[in-house]
Structure formats: C-alpha cells, structure tokens
Symmetry: C2
C-alpha cells in the first residue's frame, strides 16, 4: 500500500475536474471534502458495495462536516432502468436535497451511470462525484460524463452527457472485487491499447499475469494509463462528434449481446471482449488486420479469462439489435474497426453481408 | 391574417436559435424544413392537438421531403410523468430514430416540456423543435430550453436545460384555444410586465380587452414582446444562476398549488396568478409594494379572468411543498418578490412568519 496519489485531469474548460488514483483514498476526508459545497450529500450505492465501503465513505464525509444520506440500489445491469432511477429521485426529494446538494456515486458502472444520470436530471442538474469501486468503472465509465439507463430495446439509450466534479478511484476497493468483475474490467483496459496506445498493449501482454494476481503496482499503472487515454479523448471530443466514438470498439456488438441475452447475463466487459473479436474479424475481412493480428488480440483476451466467442443469438437478431446503435446515421451502421493494432477508425464501409459473416464466424 | 413573420433570436453562441412568430405558419414547409437534417422526424403531440394540427404539420414535413412519424400522448399536466415520457422513448426506438433525428413538440407546455426532455435524454441528446400551440407555451415555456417532468413530491423536479433548434409560434393555433387556456397564458404575459417591463404592463392594462377578444394584432404584439423579454433573460443567464430566476415570479407558490391540488386541477397559469398575488402580498409586508400597487396587480388578474385567491391547503402544507423548490439554498427559501411594479428581485429576507401570513391572507 502506498500513500501516493496520482492526479490526472479531464480538461474541459470551466468544467474540468481531477481524477485521483491511489490506495486507501475512500476514508480520507481532505480529498473529497473540498469538492462538496453544502452540508449534506447523498451517496448512491448498491447492496453489494454498501456493506463494504459505505461506512468508510460516510465517516470521511462526517469528518469533513458533511451529513451523509444514502440510497442503496439493487445490484446489477438488469436494474439500470427507470424504476431504480426513481428510487434515487425519491431519496433526493425525501431528504429535501437541493440543486446545490452533491450526489456521490459509490460503486461500479451501473451505480455511476444511474447516479450520474439522476444528478443530471434532478432539478435540471446537481453536482456529483464518482467514487468507482470496480476496475471497469475506474478505468472507463466513471470518467468522461457519459451517464444513462437502459431501455428494453437498447442499452444506454436514455441518458445525458454530464460531467462529475471529481473522480476518486480508490484502488484498494479492488481487493474485494470478484474475479469475474476484475476480468471484465480488463476488457476496457485492453481496449485503450487496441484503439490508440500500442505501447500500452505491449505492456499489457507482458504484465497480464500481474494484473490478474492483483499486483497493486500493476493495477495502479493500468488504471492511470487507461484514465490518461480516456481523459485525452474526452477533452478533445466531449459529446462524441468524432474521435470519442473510438472508445466504443466492440461496443455495438457488445451492447447487442447484453440486450439480446437479457441485461445482467453477460457483464459489460465480457460482452465488449466478444464484441471486440467480432470487430477484429470484420477488420480482417476488410483487409485491414491480418489473421495473425486477430490471433494476437484473441490470445490476450483468452489470457485475461474473457470470452472471445459471442452467443448464438442469430445474425438477424444481432442486426436488429444493432440497428438501434447510437452511431447509426440515416439507417447506416457505423462501426469502430481496427485499421491496425493501435489504430481504430469509425467506418461504414462494411457491407451487411460482411458484418453478418463476421458475427457468424465469432458465434459459438 | 397577415403573412408577415416576426423573427426573434435567443442568443446562445453556437446554440442560438430563432423564434418565428406569425399567422398560418404550421403548414409552411419552407420554414421548418431547413431546420431538419435527416429524412425522418418524430412529432410528439397530444389527443387534443393531434386532430386539429397534426395533419397540417405532417403535410408541411412531407412537402419538405421529411417522413413524419408521430406519438400522441394523453392531454394534461397529470400525465407529465415517467410513464408518459416512456411512450415517447418507445416511439423513438420503435421507429429506429437516430441521434440525428429531429423531435418536434406540437402542443402546449406539457407537450413541450416532455418532448424537450425526451429529446435531451434520447441517445444523450437529439435535435428538437418547439411548435407551441397555446398562449402559455408561445409566450413562455417553448423558449429558453427548460424541460422537465413532474415528481409526485414536486413540479418540474426532473428535467434538463436543453435548447431547441427553432421555436415556431403559429398564432393561428390560438383560434381553437379554450378560453380558460387563453386566460392561463395571460398570467405569464402579465408576469413579464411585472418583473421587468413596466411599459408593457401599461400596454396590457390598456389592451386586455383586445387580448381576451383574441384580436390577432394584440395577441401578436403580446407574444412578440413576451418572447423578446424571455429571450433577453435566457441569453444573459441560460442555466438560472441569477437573473433567470426572476421569471419564476409567483411560481414557488404556484407550483405548491399545482402539486398540492393534484396535477391538472389548476392550470399552470392559474396557479401562477394566485401565486403572484401571494408574492405581491409578501412584497407589501416587506414594505416594498404599497397596497395600491397590490390592488393594481389584483385588478389586472381579475380582468384577465384569473384567480387571485389561492386554495386553502393550509399554511403548513404550503411550506412543506415549497421546501422542495429549486431555489432553496441550505434549507433557506429564496423567493421572487417585487421591489416595485416592473422590478423583481430574488430575496431570502422574508421570515417564515411573514411568508405564512402572506399565504394566509391570500387563501380563500
């Protein structure tokens, strides 16, 4: 355990905010305190995280002179919907939270996405803070202001771009993370290497064992490097009019898997892993990647314990689900594909037949 | 009927947009067409407005080469909630609307607030257009980007600041507006005179009869003058960190009336009228307005056929409902009050006793 805190910044003008990364940060009142303006804060968390970390965060808030209130949501992607979101609004109104009250999302991607969306909408916008407690949320979803809930017809269909005041990533919380969740987080870590940071990919190939063994130095490096990549992309294209879409490598296929299987069956990272392999397969069919490169990607995901085959939903079902993707323009699917390892592009060059063949090739 | 179109602008940098005001604008494809980028648009309207104006708007869209789809909501403030909002999302997803598809809100304040909020959230934001068909929405709610739905505990508690691409105010649609709705709209018109435009107030005192008789020139002037006031305030303070709050004269009390009576019992404008009289009463108790001024305000609302007495919910209930107001800071109520006729201020100077006494004095 180290006392050092790494600080990164998401540069968005007067809405810029820091990302603190380090061990045992949750309980340190001097870190979170200065970011909270009023005397009360609402912590949004879930039934899994609350028994582990809520008391520690609440103690830090109390020490900073802030009265903590909390709402504990059911855990899982299948609860990322209106009904659960309304539990947050009920708590906010029940505790007379104001437009200036701070909402703190303590948990993984689902808690962060819902807490952030609730903060975006409550009284048309209240301040919020992300305290991610899973690898996936620490390296990806807590940074950049994408918030959303799911619709039965499509993942993350209803949401907002809404930036937090602070991201507080306490690496120590990963000690209690189930293996399956750790692996799912690695899918998004590997993503950064594939789309724009080939040196990081090489590092990952050399250090995957340490990550899986939860070596804190390796985890710390991977989280910092991932966040640095994410922060750079978000600062350049906050609302995804261009480059930011590249962060969605594997996500169009992945979202189809998550929605098609029923939310919560596949973890988001698992679906992204299988989706990335479909994207790689398609990039190969377009003549951009060779088979050795596809094999190299597959090897890394396999070593990370992630699925490299997609579920047999049927090609028609995949295409139907993908037709709701947020990148569709005038009915035409735009996919994030790989020109080479380390260089992703958004492309509508693939024909429906090629897309279908890539899905087919990757379905077990 | 005149062919002239008045054009105002809401100046918000690269998110600036025009307000077109005139007669028989709905069916003119050359007005709305240029603001729609894709070949499909979703019209959100309600069961009252659809039989009157949907066909005309759809014809204009088709003429502009745009395929219209529509969703018809139940009519009334009591439907401004999650359930109805989800009907819009279902329609958007069912018709495979994209992030670039335009949503058009055709109707009054409820349709505009819900359509706008749906547009703000769908795929994290799609373009939208306001086509207001009531006096209240033409002079107030369609301009400025406030969108929201209600929560059982408070009006407009869940929403977004989200600006339209265009406001198309067709004065001819007021021909079918019920008298009660026309009068309710006048409450917001009078508001502009009271808070910042005393010359307009004098004009209203002289021309109220023409407005109630639906004289098109008088209505046109009142709508333009109201929109000009609104546009100026919004351009100066889009997100209500200061001056914009003044537009809420009578609204803190009014929202309490709407929520307390059950959404839809009192029209918004009616509640604002009664609420404005409470605010005037309180301004008098603080020594800012004299009784003659309160009487002058009351006279104008009486002539407009609007309520000047609030319902007997009980003072405790009013205070409880008002404690959820968006202007509350650190538990302290901030109210829009009148320093004089034509000059509103936001103030936390009134004591709970004074507020209670003003409510008491105005309850029938």
């Amino acid at each position: 355990m180290s006392d050092s805190i790494e600080q990164l910044s998401v540069a968005l003008g007067d809405r810029s905010y820091p990302i603190y990364i380090g061990s045992e940060l949750l309980g340190r009142s001097e870190l979170i305190g200065p970011f909270i303006k009023q005397k009360k804060a609402l912590v949004v968390t879930n039934t899994t995280v609350a028994p582990l970390y809520l008391a520690s965060l609440e103690a830090a808030l109390i020490q900073a002179g802030i009265e903590p209130i909390s709402v504990v949501l059911p855990d899982g992607e299948q609860f990322k919907n209106w009904e659960t979101l309304n539990l947050i609004f009920d708590a906010l109104l029940g505790a007379r939270c104001e437009r200036g009250t701070t909402l703190i999302a303590l948990g993984g991607g689902v808690v962060g996405d819902m807490g952030g969306f609730a903060a975006a909408c409550y009284q048309r916008g209240m301040p919020f803070i992300q305290v991610p407690t899973t690898l996936l949320s620490q390296v990806d979803s807590s940074v950049g202001g994408k918030t959303a809930i799911n619709h039965p017809m499509g993942k993350n269909m209803i949401g907002a771009f809404y930036q937090p005041q602070l991201v507080l990533a306490d690496i120590s919380t990963l000690n209690t993370l189930p293996d399956r969740e750790l692996k799912a987080g690695l899918a998004e870590v590997i993503k950064y290497g594939l789309i724009r940071d080939v040196n990081f990919l090489v590092w990952l190939e050399g250090n995957l064992g340490s990550l899986l063994a939860r070596d804190p130095d390796a985890l710390g490096f991977a989280i910092r490097r991932s966040c640095a990549n994410k922060a750079e992309v978000v600062a350049a294209d906050e609302k995804e009019t261009g480059e930011r879409a590249l962060l969605n490598l594997g996500h169009t296929f992945g979202h189809a898997i998550e929605t098609g299987m029923g939310y919560g069956e596949w973890l988001h990272g698992e679906a992204v892993a299988a989706g990335t392999l479909i994207a790689a397969e398609l990039s190969c069919k377009l003549g951009w990647l060779n088979e050795a490169s596809v094999g190299r990607i597959e090897d890394l995901f396999v070593r990370a314990g992630l699925p490299v085959k997609a579920p047999k939903l049927g090609v028609a079902k995949y295409l139907e689900l993908m037709s709701h993707d947020k990148k569709v323009q005038e009915g035409r699917l735009r996919l994030v594909l790989l020109e080479s390892i380390g260089k992703a592009v958004v492309s509508d060059l693939a024909s429906t037949e090629q897309i279908a063949a890539a899905i087919e090739a990757r379905c077990t």
